[in-house]
């Protein structure tokens, strides 16, 4: 699935200061019955976001008009649990392009990168600074620079660097996915298969 090229952004963010946000919260299993990738954003954080009668839960951050933007800031160990890429789709389809946390579950991180979301891992200290800044002023802007690999709290200029391997950076910036790369490697794959014995 190709995605939009990642362009550096400066935006407000949505704070979710909960640890161990798991994939069943991001998108509950009962919403995985689609056979196409459509409408997943509507069910992002479904059970935290809506009452069982479908009315919005007012105390949940996505229902609070104060907070918006393309950056989601989550507590430590974000995305633990299942390998369902639907979790990353929901985040993307809702409109987020960046998730900031002090720790990501592996598969969620990999899935995110594969579909065009940039997971930005910062120190716990910096994460708390972002939360504090956003709770003090919901208009706080965060700048994410993919080239410099930095994330900055615009008002104070405080920033931190984040890791991103060169290959994935290239993919994100150009909107390429791994399949393009693999299809271009088919000769080497065939060569490999000739000598491979399980």
């Amino acid at each position: 699935m190709a995605f939009d090229k990642f362009i550096n952004l400066k935006d407000t963010c949505v704070p979710l200061p909960i640890e161990n946000v798991d994939t069943d919260q991001i998108i509950p299993a009962r919403f995985l019955k689609a056979i196409e990738r459509k409408g997943f954003g509507d069910n992002l954080f479904r059970d935290w976001r809506y009452n069982s009668d479908g009315s919005p839960k007012e105390d949940f951050v996505l229902n609070n008009p104060k907070y918006s933007g393309r950056i989601l800031v989550g507590g430590k160990n974000f995305g633990s649990g299942s390998s369902r890429e639907h979790a990353a789709w929901s985040v993307y389809d809702y409109g987020f392009r960046v998730v900031i946390s002090s720790f990501f579950a592996d598969i969620f991180k990999g899935n995110s990168l594969n579909i065009g979301i940039l997971p930005v891992q910062v120190s716990e200290e910096f994460l708390q600074k972002i939360f504090t800044a956003v709770f003090e002023d919901a208009k706080t802007e965060i700048a994410v620079d993919i080239d410099a690999q930095t994330v900055t709290i615009v008002a104070t200029g405080e920033y931190e660097s984040f890791d991103l391997n060169a290959y994935k950076k290239d993919c994100l910036k150009n909107g390429f996915d791994d399949i393009d790369y693999l299809l271009n490697s088919s000769d080497e794959i065939e060569e490999f298969e000739k000598q491979h014995n399980v």
Binding site: E19, S52, N165, I189
Partner: protein, 462 residues
């Protein structure tokens, strides 16, 4: 000097991308109805066919009903997914073990049962509990839908090589302590994030003494500590299990395979990035009290106080509120409403044998609803032929038909809001077993004990 993991990984690297991942070759690709349809759409959009249909095996398991499987699926969305899987398999020439067929079952139960899962292989599936297959000394892990599409198109994925962890468990397990307790104990020690970035090898005398079923339970839950997967070096127990299985090598091929598989172990002195060691005799029967698998305690223990709990106090309190438990209190004697015995963690024949042994001559508590869901048709057949089904019936239990069932509640097997379920599955996340459901993870005998008394009970006391 190489670890078991290095040996298999390195043998599957087609090439390494500079400052990037490896192009990693996949030997077996399991697929199911939920995570595959978008991947099929993806390759079709590119005008491609599945490159190696003979290395791909399909079964519908996540959303199938567990009663009246011979009838049409009532839920339209589930039915569409199952039909789509059949259609896609037909179009691409993929072997399908469909609903009602002889070898139908949960993908991680049928793979080993049929001998498809073998030592030294790389195995992926769009399901995080693919780690189960690591019990055979394979590198097995869950992937996302984009990666399923990659395997369809090229039989490869792009993967950075994980770091290596070894967890050694020596000593003897006490009475009433099972492999489920070992893994719940490990996760309670390491936490749900402690394994992130690692691939785990389980070793030590306690691990070696386990059956293949018990090893699978441990590898299955590796993902619950954040690890990509877990593995155990193949040995006589592994070979014995595989011998004669439908898809296992036969004759001269079998001998050659044994010779190859016998090399699959960590060399003496090979280094791991991190090591943990535990003493099996210290492990007690375990239960979880919170909303992630790391929140586990000995059944005789107390729920931690807010001060003693690891991590963020707010998250901890939120979790206990959801469960309706108090910090610091004992968990023994808590009333429960449902018992679910099944899933790819504990839905194998050995699990049902141990439950049957335990409930024989006893009666289920009246207020408890108990669902016994076999992991596969084969498990169901064995339950019938070994007389287990009859024992279950006499004790007031009903054996349903195979599928994932209440493990993730995509079908009708949902635990109602606020109700407590003792479950042999692997995740106690909020709403995992149905919106508002409260899950307590445990071993099959712990679940059986709870079904009999109607509350959380130390199985050793019965």
């Amino acid at each position: 000097m190489k670890t078991l993991f290095d040996k298999i990984w390195d043998a599957h690297v087609v090439k390494s991308v500079p400052d990037g991942p490896d192009v990693f070759y996949i030997d077996k690709h399991f697929i199911h109805e939920v995570t595959s349809p978008v991947a099929f759409l993806g390759i079709e959009k590119r005008g491609k066919k599945v490159r190696c249909p003979e290395k791909t095996i399909a079964t519908p398991d996540h959303n199938v009903p567990t009663i009246n499987q011979s009838e049409e699926i009532q839920d339209v969305l589930s039915r569409t997914q199952v039909e789509k899987l059949t259609e896609n398999c037909n179009n691409h020439g993929i072997e399908l073990h469909g609903l009602g067929s002889e070898n139908h079952g949960i993908v991680h139960v049928i793979g080993p049962e049929l001998g498809i899962t073998q030592p030294g292989m790389t195995i992926v599936c769009g399901d995080s509990h693919t780690s189960t297959h690591g019990a055979f000394g394979a590198i097995a892990f869950g992937i996302g839908t984009s990666e399923i599409e990659m395997v369809f198109a090229t039989q490869c994925i792009m993967q950075p090589k994980p770091k290596k962890m070894r967890i050694t468990i020596d000593g003897e397990l006490g009475m009433g302590v099972t492999s489920k307790d070992i893994i719940l104990y490990i996760i309670s020690q390491i936490t749900t994030a402690g394994g992130t970035g690692y691939f785990v090898e389980y070793a030590g005398s306690a691990i070696k003494s386990l059956s293949m079923e018990a090893r699978m339970t441990i590898c299955n839950m590796s993902i619950e500590m954040g690890a990509r997967g877990g593995m155990i070096a193949p040995d006589e127990t592994t070979f014995e299990y595989l011998k004669g299985k439908k898809y296992a090598p036969k004759g001269a091929e079998w001998d050659a395979a044994i010779a190859r598989w016998s090399e699959l172990k960590t060399d003496e002195g090979a280094e791991f990035d991190v090591e943990y060691k535990y003493d099996a005799s210290q492990i007690q029967p375990m239960v979880t009290y919170g909303t992630n698998p790391g929140m586990g305690i000995a059944v005789t223990g107390n729920i931690p106080t807010v001060e003693a709990a690891a991590g963020n106090a707010k998250t901890f309190t939120k979790s206990l509120d959801y469960m309706g438990f108090e910090a610091g209190e004992s968990i023994l004697g808590k009333k429960i409403d449902y018992v679910f015995i099944g899933s790819c963690t504990n839905g194998r024949i050995e699990d049902f044998r141990s439950v049957a042994k335990f409930v024989k001559g006893r009666q289920k508590a009246n207020h408890v609803t108990a669902w016994l869901v076999p992991g596969s048709k084969e498990v169901e057949r064995l339950c019938n032929s070994e007389g287990l089904t009859k024992i279950f019936e006499e004790a007031g239990f009903v054996l349903r038909e195979p599928g994932c069932s209440a493990c993730l509640a995509m079908n009708d097997d949902k635990i109602p809001v606020g109700k407590y379920a003792v479950s042999t599955s692997n995740r106690n996340f909020e709403g995992r077993q149905g919106p508002g459901a409260r899950t307590i993870l445990a071993s099959p005998i712990m679940a059986a004990a709870a079904a009999i008394t109607g509350n959380i009970t130390d199985p050793r006391s019965l």
